[in-house]
């Protein structure tokens, strides 16, 4: 399947919306959504994506009340925004990535990584640094930073704390690993959005952003060792470490093969749907052949007991007979794909709001102001691209949504200086990934916190004072901060900069 063209080149009508109160009012739906997100997740501490969907819906309704004349144009613009290829491409990729991530999780991949850490005899000094490395590895393979945070807070966090590592540094290291993967993984939603919106291929953006990611990662690794040496953690009973060892399983490392399949196929320039499909096939085969997970862990039809269907199909493979209340479809393919359903709806609504802002002129007014007053040289233009991306992502819980809203700015400002698609995509994605895991209302921080509170009930020894509050994490997400700093320095010095005359980003999969 060919990768669809970006929003900039999509054939769209040129409807212009006029708002009572001027062009700035066309930003109302998006600004209302940002305010809602800060209130809901930052102040109330509720990380539910469903709540953000309502915030965006209410914002779209409020915006309509300020439209001059016929409201049909506003409604048409909502549809026009939602129909853009950029959102559909991202949603399709999430469905595939979700199935792949879930299948690796049921296949004991995290347990395999844990086995490696224990076998290597990692102590409290090195545990956070190694956790960062392994979280980065997992996130790069499965492409979901949120999934990585959840898995690592569930398994590595208690282990690290049990071995004497500082809980806050451990949480920071896990979040840092998620940032690394979100930024670099070919199957990451933010990677895909960055490539598609900046007219680039996924393989090309991953290869070209490696240099920024690895510089920040090496510095982060050193920083975690130094921080661990400076702050002594709690000491926990030895049986906790033993329980952790019992969970680990070297066979899970076989999924390095599944991860490698996706990474290599994607970097080789194959379409992301094709790359993940191959990785998924390898993962399913590995799970079945090596007994890591039965077929029903990946796909199961739970049929209600007592009925005709249960009697007829009950003995079939992938069919299980359950109580009527538990009937339904399950398994990693189902759960993995369905996990993105709410985010998919949210993204469609957010880009509808962004389209309103474009048709109403607020986007262009801001773009013109930035280009006229701030971005006067290529150096200042790149600094603006970094700071605008980071600022908008710092304000919005779901960083992919922020990224989609800011992507047209980055494309416009960058093209005005003939900065090529890879460089634009890299500036966009690094600062999107970084800010999605730092502040207390960021989605990554909130899912980690939620998972951590569950540990109190899971382990007798894990007390509530070991839970890291979202507000405590921000100084310790070293890779996030360092990635932003690397890009500010790169913008200022020209490190890694590429012009369209040096190399045009490859959109061969679209041609």
């Amino acid at each position: 399947m060919n990768q669809p063209a970006s929003a900039e080149t999509a054939p769209v009508s040129q409807t212009t919306l006029e708002f009572r109160g001027g062009k700035a009012l066309s930003a109302l739906p998006i600004l209302f959504f940002i305010a809602w997100a800060i209130f809901q997740s930052g102040l109330l501490g509720i990380s539910a994506t469903g709540g953000l969907i309502v915030g965006m819906l209410v914002g779209l309704i409020l915006g309509m009340l300020f439209v001059k004349g016929d409201w049909k144009g506003y409604a048409d613009t909502v549809f026009e925004g939602m129909a853009q290829p950029v959102a559909v491409t991202a949603i399709v990729a999430w469905l595939w990535a979700g199935m792949f991530a879930g299948t690796l999780q049921v296949g004991a991949f995290v347990d395999g990584l844990g086995w490696l850490a224990v076998a290597a005899g990692i102590g409290p000094l090195l545990f956070p640094a190694i956790t960062f490395l392994l979280a980065a590895l997992l996130a790069t393979g499965i492409g979901t930073g949120y999934g990585t945070v959840i898995a690592f807070v569930a398994l590595f966090f208690p282990a690290g704390v049990a071995l004497g590592a500082d809980p806050v540094i451990m949480f920071g290291a896990i979040l840092s690993g998620a940032v690394f993967g979100d930024n670099l993984a070919p199957v990451s939603d933010t990677t895909i959005v960055s490539a598609v919106t900046q007219d680039s291929d996924v393989g090309g953006v991953v290869a070209s952003r490696f240099k920024y990611a690895i510089i920040a990662a090496i510095l982060s690794l050193i920083a975690y060792v130094i921080a661990s040496a400076m702050f002594s953690g709690s000491t926990i009973a030895p049986e906790v470490a033993e329980a952790f060892r019992e969970q680990t399983n070297p066979a899970g490392l076989l999924h390095l093969l599944s991860m490698g399949t996706v990474i290599f196929t994607a970097i080789a320039g194959r379409h992301i749907i094709e790359a993940i499909s191959w990785g998924l096939i390898v993962a399913i085969v590995v799970n079945l052949v090596f007994g890591l997970a039965p077929g029903t862990d990946m796909l199961v039809f739970n049929v209600a007991e007592g009925g005709w269907a249960a009697e007829t199909f009950g003995a079939w493979p992938l069919v299980e007979v359950v109580a009527a209340a538990d009937a339904g479809v399950g398994g990693s393919l189902y759960n993995g794909a369905l996990g993105f359903a709410e985010l998919a709806v949210l993204i469609l609504l957010v880009i509808a709001g962004a389209q309103i802002m474009m048709r109403g002129g607020a986007f262009h007014a801001l773009e013109d102001w930035l280009l006229r007053t701030v971005a006067k040289t290529v150096r200042s233009a790149e600094v603006v691209m970094v700071t605008v991306t980071a600022s908008i992502n710092a304000a919005i819980t779901i960083n992919t949504a922020a990224q989609i809203a800011v992507a047209p700015y980055i494309a416009t400002i960058g093209k005005r200086f003939n900065i090529n698609g890879y460089r634009r995509a890299n500036i966009l994605d690094a600062n999107t990934s970084a800010l999605g895991y730092i502040f207390p209302w960021a989605g990554g921080v909130l899912v980690g916190y939620t998972q951590m509170t569950a540990l109190v009930n899971q382990y007798d020894w894990f007390s509530s004072d070991m839970v890291v509050a979202p507000i405590q994490a921000w100084p310790w997400v070293f890779h996030g901060w360092l990635l932003v700093i690397v890009f500010l320095v790169s913008a200022w010095t020209g490190f890694g900069r590429e012009y369209t005359t040096d190399r045009l980003s490859n959109r061969s999969s679209a041609s």
């Binding site: 290869a207 240099k211 005005r416 200086f417 003939n418 890694g496 900069r497 012009y499 005359t501």
Partner: protein, 79 residues
């Protein structure tokens, strides 16, 4: 693939230079309707472009560099 990961580890100037006769593909970054001439800004270098239309603004165009002054970082090109 490995080569791709380690490509472009360099500092790129704000003022890229071009040679006369060089054919390049650039975004047309400006168009003056009164003169019918376009501008292609690459970093902080400016090329005055002849033979382009207003509807080509912000799109990729293939141009041939006719002259370039490395002191003023500006030159002329033709579509």
């Amino acid at each position: 693939m490995i080569k791709g990961l380690f490509a472009n580890w360099r500092f790129r100037t704000s003022h890229p230079a071009f040679e006369p006769g060089q054919q390049i593909e650039v975004y047309l970054t400006g168009f003056d309707a009164s003169t019918g001439r376009g501008v292609a800004r690459i970093g902080d270098s400016i090329l005055d472009v002849e033979g382009v239309r207003s509807d080509q603004l912000d799109t990729l165009v293939t141009i041939t560099v006719e002259s370039f002054d490395r002191q003023t970082h500006s030159g002329a090109a033709r579509a």
